[in-house]
């Protein structure tokens, strides 16, 4: 895996890789998403912003296949997608790092990276296939070094790792399968300064590798440090979309709080 060189030339692709159009999701009477548009391009970090309850998590859960939307469409490379389960989204090349990381603390790093996709080898043909620990360990080590994630041993239990390391492992787990889109839900929320730095560097590295990265965050500093674009949600709708280089933090905050309205929701 991961043997080809990234093509940075396409990082600023004309057409966004992921396009969401008019997405609607209701939870009973709660209109969590009211026709949301959203897009993410390869080689770009798109920040998804908004106050609590704005609908960010709901949106990415629809993209990740956890929720099935009630209306609208999700296009990947122009092709409409109909995800029923997270596996469908994974198969289409969308990996999600949930806020809770979804790691098994009781397993080691290798086992976590290959969770649900363990590699096997034939022990008795047609009867017994055992886990191919060597291959998994090798690939895990390679993947971690590619992302420059530093942990003492890939055989350490995840429970023994620091918050930043755990977040990194969760990201590595997503990236291991060469996805096209990686979604990170509040990746730095629980981290200290140094560990936040680690994870932001990791996000930048994903961008370098030509992935479409979506980051949900409440942290303005993070946004201006890593994001290329930002979409702002409020009360289930997208209210603004910026090219980060063209705006100030104040503009973004104003959009989030709704103190200023933004006429144009323009794509670069």
């Amino acid at each position: 895996m991961q043997s080809e060189a990234p093509s940075y030339s396409r990082a600023t692709a004309e057409e966004p890789l992921l396009q969401v159009r008019g997405l609607v999701k209701n939870f009973g009477a709660v209109e969590a998403l009211r026709g949301v548009d959203f897009e993410a391009s390869v080689g770009q970090v798109t920040a998804l912003l908004g106050d609590n309850g704005a609908g960010k998590s709901t949106l990415i859960k629809c993209i990740a296949g956890t929720h099935v939307p009630d209306g609208g469409e999700i296009l990947l490379g122009g092709a409409p997608q109909h995800f029923r389960t997270p596996i469908d989204a994974t198969r289409a090349g969308i990996e999600t790092v949930y806020q809770d990381l979804a790691l098994c603390d009781n397993l080691d790093v290798v086992a976590n990276l290959f969770l649900g996709r363990e590699e096997g080898q034939t022990l008795i043909p047609g009867v017994v296939r055992t886990l191919d620990e060597e291959d998994m360990e090798k690939r895990a080590s390679e993947a971690l070094s590619t992302l420059r994630i530093n942990i003492p041993s890939v055989r350490n239990q995840v429970a023994q790792l620091s918050g930043g390391q755990r977040q990194s492992i969760a990201v590595a787990k997503a990236v291991l399968w060469s996805p096209q889109v990686v979604i990170l839900d509040e990746p730095t929320a629980a981290l200290g300064v140094a560990q936040t730095r680690q994870v932001l560097d990791l996000v930048l590295r994903l961008r370098e590798r030509g992935l479409a990265v979506i980051v949900i965050t409440h942290n303005m500093v993070d946004v201006f440090e890593v994001a290329d674009r930002a979409s702002v949600m409020r009360l289930g709708s997208r209210v603004a979309s910026f090219n980060i280089k063209e705006v100030t933090p104040d503009d973004v905050v104003a959009a989030i709080t709704g103190s200023r309205s933004f006429e144009t929701v323009a794509q670069a």
């Binding site: 895996m1 991961q2 009781n106 086992a111 080590s141 070094s145 420059r148 041993s153 055989r155 030509g210």
Partner: protein
């Protein structure tokens, strides 16, 4: 927003970063090996058990004029308690999921009732009786598993229902009476011994298999370019296993040989250890026990995993019941019961299986089984008042759970860790 539908952009697969080129500390050093890491927590949770075991042994031996650590008593101990350890294998899997199976005591009794009545009343052959009993118990386990995994009823409630249902069926079959089982094959399970030569051959095979597996493992790791544990350590481990097996076989042979029941336990332990640690499904059981939601999101069929585990639990109850009939050559309502449940949970917990799921191995049943067997056997040998037996067993269970809980708290043994780190 762009309306044009252009062809989907190609995303190149990411390339490996140049590890050495930029000189960053990127290379992940793998010091541990094959999942074996020596952590302080692990040592601190198992060492007290070993010390406790040694203390128990020395105490009983001194109280019984050396009878306790005698070949005969150790042999009888193995024969008497192997079935409990076999039953505990099922419990290990259930606890790995963080679930509980309260029905096990009576499911074992159901197996006892079925085996005894098929063999002695229906006059079926031993093979048919044993197979039917195990299959029916497996189905019972699967049935409970279905309610737990598919219908999503709490295991506590489902197996409490099973507890009553299996009790009722078993009592109905036995109708309050004892059924003597005269079948020699069934008796052989509980009362026969392997011949001395066979025992030695098996021991040699086990050591050889260990060595071969290690060699294969070294080869595979070398091929994958992975570091491996020092050869000396593996050689030492092989020698240690050989010595321990030799001592066990020699000791048991000096009485009557290795009890068949113990051989059955050993076989089941090895098979299920392999199942749990070397197969995909085993790994997934740990994953489901460690983080159900994560496992689900990773695409693991958590329903099937949970279902399967309760099937295993039922199957082991079936096996334990057969072994129990083999041991006592009879089946009655007082052959097994709910007290068994406490014993087997103690066995698993003492062996290091956590009640909260995800932690522990099948080997637990050997260590835990040895502790419980030693206690029962020693107290029997001393003819201790049963009141004390209850108290002592309860205290040991609490101690084992306490160690588990304290060990799991991240700060649990930190003061000790710090101290030793400084030293």
């Amino acid at each position: 927003m762009s309306e044009a539908k252009t062809p989907r952009p190609t995303v190149a697969a990411p390339a490996p970063a140049s590890i050495a080129a930029d000189g960053s500390p990127a290379a992940v050093r793998s010091t541990a090996f094959g999942g074996i890491t020596l952590s302080w927590d692990k040592l601190l949770t198992t060492v007290p058990i070993y010390i406790g075991l040694i203390v128990i042994w020395l105490y009983f031996d001194s109280q019984t004029a050396g009878k306790f650590i005698g070949a005969r008593n150790l042999s009888e101990m193995a024969q008497e308690f192997s079935y409990e350890a076999v039953l505990a294998i099922g419990v290990v899997f259930v606890l790995l999921l963080g679930e509980i199976d309260l029905s096990l005591g009576y499911l074992t009794l159901l197996s006892v009732a079925l085996t005894a009545s098929f063999s002695a009343l229906s006059q079926y052959s031993a093979g048919v009786s044993i197979l039917l009993a195990i299959v029916i118990c497996t189905l019972c386990g699967l049935l409970q598993g279905m309610l737990i995994a598919w219908v999503r009823m709490p295991s506590f409630v489902v197996t409490l229902g099973g507890f009553l249902i299996f009790e009722g069926i078993a009592y109905h079959i036995l109708a309050g009476s004892t059924i003597n089982v005269f079948d020699p094959f069934i008796s052989s399970i509980g009362t026969y011994y392997l011949s001395n030569t066979v025992s030695w051959i098996v021991a040699v095979i086990v050591v050889a298999a260990y060595v071969l597996a290690k060699v294969a493992n070294y080869r595979a790791r070398a091929k994958a370019g992975l570091p491996h544990a020092p050869v000396a350590r593996t050689v030492a481990a092989a020698i240690a296993i050989g010595v321990v097996l030799a001592i066990i076989v020699a000791t048991l042979n000096s009485y009557r040989g290795v009890p068949v029941a113990l051989a059955i336990l050993a076989a089941f332990t090895i098979v299920f250890w392999f199942f749990a640690s070397k197969l995909q499904i085993g790994r997934r059981i740990y994953a489901v026990g460690g983080n159900l939601e994560a496992a689900r999101r990773a695409g693991i069929n958590t329903t099937a995993v949970r279902w399967l585990v309760f099937g295993i639990s039922g199957m082991m109850a079936g096996v334990a019941g057969v072994m129990l009939v083999g041991y006592s050559a009879a089946g009655s309502t007082t052959t097994a019961g709910p007290d068994l449940l406490l014993d087997v949970i103690s066995i698993a917990v003492i062996g290091g299986v956590s009640l909260t799921g995800g932690k522990g191995t099948v080997w637990a049943v050997l260590l835990g089984g040895l502790v419980i067997a030693s206690l029962d056997s020693g107290l029997n040998l001393m003819a201790t008042d049963p009141y004390y037996v209850y108290v002592i067993k309860g205290a040991i269970l609490l101690a084992a759970i306490g160690i588990d809980v304290i060990g799991k708290r991240s700060s649990g043994f930190s003061w000790l860790r710090r101290r030793t780190a400084r030293a």
